[in-house]
Amino acid sequence: MSTRDDKGWFAIREPLSQSKQQILVLLSFLGPILTWCIVSYTPFIWHPDIRLDISAQRQGVSTVFTAGDHLTKSYYQEFEQFIRDENVLILEQQSGKAEAPKNLSKVRRDNIKILRQLTPIATKQGWLPKDEKIPDEDLIALWEAIATKPGGFEKLNALTDENITVIENNWNLLNRHYQETGSLKMVSVPLQKLVPQGVPVNPVYLPAPHEVLQKGWYEFTKKPENDKPSMWSRLRHSVRIVFTGFLLSCLVGVPLGILCGTYDFFSKLFEPFIDFFRYLPAPSFSTLLVAIFLAHDAPKIALVFVGTFFQLVLVVSKTTTLLDKSLLEAALTLGAKPKSLMTRVIVPGILPNLYNDLRILLGWSWTWLVIAELIGVKSGLTEFIETQGRWRNFDSVFPVIFTIGFIGFFTDQILAQLRGLFFPWTGEKVSFILRKWIDFYHWLTGGRVNVTNNQHLQGSQ
């Protein structure tokens, strides 16, 4: 479907056709998302960890793994081997070839633990009810059911043959003991351990997309617990800090920047120091800011301010100096007094570039959010990210990180779209969607549509 003027995909400094651009824009988002899906959902790609379904407790080792824990593949294999070796020894003890342990009550306690190792996989598979304390009798009944397999075929699929053998052997032992004494609990011969079983998974820090989506939905819709703020109020708090800090630095920085760009006096008086100060890392002022501003949000807002203000002054000053000087001269020859140049020429002239500068600096101030919310009393989204991250609940962390990204991205996109509307004279296109919205608005209010459709008019001379 290539037309004659189609320049292909790789023309140097030529814009791509509309459709090609759209494809690439789509790809730039789809690419990372697809990679994430592939890495998460294809078991043979990457998956460096094993998530335990059945765990085991090693003799004389104090570290305890429970079902759900992630182990690296190599350690998992070691772990399996240790348990197998222990089982060999236990078999010898059972048959009297090796000396059985003397501490009978410990043997009994260990045996109960072995029985309970089956609980997580059983509740996960739905063999036992979830979220309930399971009595040992039910557990023993499950062992019996698996060992004697009355129609329990689907249960056998979830267990390795090795473990089924262990279960059968143990059940035989328990059953014999029961026949002899009438009690299951009293068995004082060491039982064989269930060999650890697990599935290959990605590391905890990379939860799968659906997990992130589910958790995100859950976190944003759940009722806040006791004194904890809801996710939305956290979000409002974060947005407020960013915007307040940004607006304050605009309030001071924009006039100062314009002054510096207009009068060499102010430029030489302020810019050298500002230029130096902006290299001082803003986070290093955090404790200082807390000492100065004390109260909850004030030091946080101050940090966003410190982080953006100095850049802003320099950028605005630069933008102001870039205004074509001949416009000022033209205004002078038209009778403008030097004092009125500021309001009549400089400010209106730099406005569209200033608008872009502020857009970029708003993005910049978002980057200070996390550090700002960490100082003093932790707050907002960052506090959530911090706590959940520490518990390694990364499936809760990702939705929040993405939310921050979305807000920043979409505010910027919306502001970029509005630019054509605010400054029709720049000749920038007002996007189709925005134009439709405006048409719709005018239709609603019965007003006249007045979006300039800028064309280059070639009039007669």
Binding site: L327, E329, G335, T426, H456
Partner: protein, 298 residues
Amino acid sequence: MTSIDLPDYKRQSSDVASRFEELKNRPVKLEVKNLQKIFQSKQGPVQALKDINFKTHRREFLSVIGPSGCGKSTLIRILAGLEIPTSGDVLLEGTAVKGPGPDRGMVFQGYTLFPWLTVKKNVMFGLTIAGNSETKAESEAMQWIELVGLKKFADSYPSQLSGGMKQRVAIARALANQPRVLLMDEPFGALDAQTRAHMQSYLLEIWRNIDITIIFITHDLDEAVYLSDRVLVLKANPGEVQEMIEVPVARPRDPDQFLEPEFLATKRHLEHLIHPPSKQQKSPMPITRMTEVGDNVE
């Protein structure tokens, strides 16, 4: 060019001579006295202008030509008050010029329209600065816009106009202040030949109809001869007056006159002043011939 017998550029027909007589009797608008400008650059002082003296009379059309870098722009910027002379004076109707002001309109080569204002608002700029009410400024601006033939584009932004249209707006904007002198620094330099011809006719038309004295910088000799009453020729390093020429071409002007003997004579004289024949002697070209002999294009 085969040499044709051209008359002396100083010979004027009786009509032309009497016109100049009349012109010299009109009051002096602008007088430049012993003007000198030295720029202090990093490489040391640069003498851009030296001993410039001339007068223009009311409703005169004066062109300034000269080789590139001879100080034409510097001169006109001093006249506008945008540059301060190192020594000497500029007198507008007898009073010294002390900086830019609405009594001297200026049209720059780059269009310098305010891009954020519509055509109408651009033309209204000077009028509102002068303290006219919005409605008065608007109705006056519309008259000037009509004069330059852009009524249809009154509400367009400069970015929507072609180069010629922009320059017409710039002229209307300068004229709206009713200046006594209109200073133009290569105003049509960026336009294509056809548009430039149109703009020249426009300018003559405007000049005929309103009371304005024009000082016009150009590097186009045809343009200088076609438009002007007199042509001030500068020479470079330092910028000095070489000659003030009275153009012997009759008015009203029209493009057919480009081929009249007086026109050609004046043009040839200007040509000689700006590119002296001695310097045009051919020097051997330091270029290796890369085509085969016998492939001579001439």
